[in-house]
């Protein structure tokens, strides 16, 4: 058995070191990593045809208490379901000056010794502003094959939190009781993204007003809804509303289908082309290859499409 095959075997048991190293492989931007990824997915798919996984997005403004909420929710969910496993990927912004980052979301997570059913990984957004990192999709492809649920936690600070919609089956927007400015901010588009609203810190006095403001702005901001989206009121301090919200997450997990994220590949392929090849790449993809969806189905899978794409660009330029 090759070293990589052995690593995949151990990762199946959710051994932390092995899962962590595979994640690094799926974050690796060197071209040679693609071949290893193909192998890993082959191995995982060979014995996991009936696997199901839900990808849940949790986004919200800085200070809304996302991380504490994720910590409390995962704790409840794991306590309620003995056989459930959850991976959390928390994305934080990188410095534009040094390229480095401070990944601080772990701070809020409870430490459970030797608990394999809960895995936590931080990720830097790198060049991307606040939303997903360039390898978030790749990492989800891996984790969705190992865990029952992948939670992506992102900082929503503007346009970029819309990204999460392309990756997650269900998006939860966490808000804290609002001031006047933040109501303006809501109108700026963020309100259209989530499937579920979470009004956190509901023990604060201004929470009641915020709830009604939010409720009443829904029909105006989201004319596309048949039913208004649920608004959960939670407090990590008192524990209020956590059970209902955890219930919503569990229901989503129960209704999950498949785990390969295939239908999300075209969008993230376009992004990858833009990241790696810029406008030239995008032009080749659209004009010569008929767009991401057509090119992906012509190639043998996402990874081979990435491997071959360099040749396509070079052929087009020569």
């Amino acid at each position: 058995m090759s070293e990589l095959d052995a690593l995949v075997e151990r990762a199946r048991t959710l051994d932390k070191g092995s899962v962590a190293r595979l994640i690094s492989l799926f974050e690796d931007r060197r071209p040679e990593a693609v071949r290893d990824r193909v192998r890993v997915l082959e191995l995982l798919d060979a014995e996991g045809a009936d696997r199901r996984c839900a990808v849940l997005g949790i986004t919200g403004t800085p200070g809304s208490g996302k991380s504490t909420l994720v910590s409390a929710l995962t704790g409840r969910m794991l306590a309620e379901r003995d056989d459930l496993s959850i991976a959390v990927v928390a994305v934080d912004p990188s410095s534009h000056v040094s390229g480095g980052s401070l990944l601080g979301d772990r701070t809020r997570m409870r430490f459970v010794p030797d608990e394999r059913r809960l895995f936590f990984r931080s990720q830097a957004s790198e060049t991307d502003l606040g939303g997903l990192g360039p390898s978030s999709f790749q990492v989800c492809r891996l984790l969705s094959r190992l865990f029952d649920c992948v939670i992506i936690e992102t900082v929503g600070i503007g346009q970029s939190e819309a990204d999460i919609r392309h990756l997650a089956d269900r998006v939860y927007l966490v808000l804290q009781p609002l001031g006047g400015d933040e109501v303006q901010f809501l109108k700026a588009g963020i309100i259209e993204v989530p499937h579920v609203f979470v009004l956190n810190k509901s023990d604060e006095p201004s929470s009641e007003t915020s709830y009604h403001q939010l409720r009443s702005s829904m029909w105006l901001a989201r004319p596309f809804d048949d039913e208004p989206p649920p608004i959960h009121r939670t407090s990590a301090t008192t524990g209020a509303g956590l059970e209902e919200l955890a219930g919503d997450l569990l229901t989503t997990i129960d209704s999950a289908t498949g785990c390969s994220l295939t239908e999300r590949e075209p969008y993230f392929f376009e992004r990858w082309v833009d990241d790696e090849w810029g406008r030239v790449g995008t032009r080749v993809l659209v004009d010569e290859l008929g767009g991401a969806a057509a090119y992906l189905s012509a190639c043998d899978g996402y990874d081979r499409a990435q491997l071959d794409f360099g040749d396509r660009v070079r052929a087009s330029l020569s």
Binding site: K16, R29, S98, G100, S101, L103, F111
Partner: protein, 430 residues
């Protein structure tokens, strides 16, 4: 402290309505800080301590009721009994050999002191108003505002020392000197932990547990938890806990069960370091090249194992590492070696930087290396240590598997970062 005393008087009178002047008098004791003490030329610390002591004793209107002075060698180790005695003698000389205590306030009427006090008070008031605007000190703690201000101040101080803007004698100026005779002697002028002390403590704990009435212990803990849950006073049940000889660990554990564990804001987010120039640029280039070779930007987990709360070192290292281009995972202080290692394993970190000032670096290094080995990650994740670590322990740490050790004499942040990057480069090449 003059400014503080006056502000205290004004706030207790105007905000809290304390009418009797006697009850508004600010009585305080002070533990003079050891931030300014240096590891290099440690004899100079004696003068620093004297000057700090004068600061809280000279002026009668703002005089501390009790002082606890640090020892000359606190940047090298915990103080020995003799070191503490030397600091105590300074207080006794001040009290009994001088006539300091016989006069009214010496600064009364000084124009310079008055203007300094007024300036400080104005700045403090501005800050207090700002915090009140946030809803008071508790929201300011929870939002991380206070901690950020502390980390910013420390980062600015370190940057100023690194650039030479702030002079620290014997550290970044007049660094040549004769060897210090204080560091001679069999123990090298430092305190070494008696290994039997930990054993004795554990034995005494076990004896206590064996001798007490377990039913009474359990009932006391249940009563404590019940009080914590329903919000009634925890004092009575706590007293019963003490009488039942519940350990502090059990007592705190019961409260953790009810309240959970508080993780304070780390204060490191959004901090800038005032360091730039060729060396920073060169190091960022090296990190970019290293990232190409590794397939990812190098990741460092900065951790502070143990209960000691001196967080400056860990914070400045976290801020510096991000400044030069690391992805930094920092979860604050008071973590167990288990938590730090699990973070490093899950994050697939390249290096753990552990900060230890409590003197227990050997034990903690061993625990970290053992846990890493259990995860099969001891080869993959390098471990470096920083803190108050005597030179005599460097070889022992190396034998345990620690790859680099940094002490207060390594005050140049960019030197430390270059050393860690160098270590990762040689690992990547191997």
């Amino acid at each position: 402290m003059r400014a503080f005393g006056e502000l205290w008087d004004e706030y207790t009178r105007d905000r809290f309505g304390v009418k009797d002047e006697k009850y508004r008098r600010f009585r305080y004791g002070v533990q003079v800080n050891s931030l300014g003490l240096t590891e290099s030329q440690p004899e100079n610390n004696a003068w620093r301590i004297l000057i700090e002591a004068l600061g809280v004793t000279l002026s009668r209107d703002a005089r501390a009721r009790a002082i606890q002075l640090p020892a000359w060698n606190e940047a090298l180790s915990l103080p020995r009994p003799w070191d503490q005695q030397w600091s105590l003698r300074l207080q006794q000389i001040l009290a009994y050999e001088t006539d300091l205590l016989e006069y009214p306030d010496l600064f009364e009427g000084s124009v310079v002191v008055r203007s300094k006090v007024d300036e400080l008070k104005a700045q403090a008031r501005e800050e207090i108003e700002k915090i009140l605007g946030m809803g008071g000190v508790i929201p300011a703690i929870e939002s991380g505002y206070l901690k950020s201000a502390l980390v910013r101040s420390m980062s600015e101080r370190m940057s100023a020392i690194n650039t030479g803007e702030q002079i620290v004698v014997g550290l970044n100026k007049w660094t040549d000197g004769l060897p210090s005779p204080l560091l001679g002697g069999e123990d090298g002028g430092i305190f070494t932990l008696d290994e039997s002390a930990a054993r004795d403590a554990i034995e005494s704990l076990e004896r206590t547990r064996a001798d007490r009435d377990p039913q009474r212990v359990e009932a006391a803990l249940e009563a404590l938890k019940a009080a914590a849950r329903d919000g009634s006073s925890m004092m009575e049940p706590s007293i019963e806990c003490a009488l039942a000889r519940v350990t502090t660990g059990e007592w705190a554990g019961a409260l953790r069960e009810v309240f959970g564990e508080y993780r304070p804001a780390t204060g490191v987010e959004g901090q800038q370091l005032g360091l730039s120039g060729d060396r920073v640029d060169a190091l960022r280039d090296r990190i970019a090249k290293l990232a190409d070779r590794l397939g990812h930007r190098p990741r460092i987990v900065v951790g502070k194992p143990g209960l000691d709360g001196h967080s400056n070192g860990a914070e400045v290292i976290a801020v510096s590492a991000r400044h030069v281009g690391f992805d930094v995972i920092y979860s604050g202080i008071r973590l167990s070696p288990d938590e730090i290692v699990q973070s490093a394993v899950e994050e697939d970190a390249d290096v753990i930087g552990a900060s230890v000032l409590s003197g227990s670096h050997l034990e903690l290094a061993q625990q970290i290396m053992d846990r890493l080995a259990e995860y099969g990650a001891a080869e993959r994740i390098a471990v470096v240590f920083g803190g108050i670590i005597p030179k005599g322990d460097f070889d022992k740490l190396a034998a345990i598997g620690v790859r680099r050790v940094f002490t207060p004499s390594d005050y140049e942040l960019i030197d430390i970062m270059e050393s860690i990057v160098g270590l990762l480069e040689s690992n990547a090449a191997a």
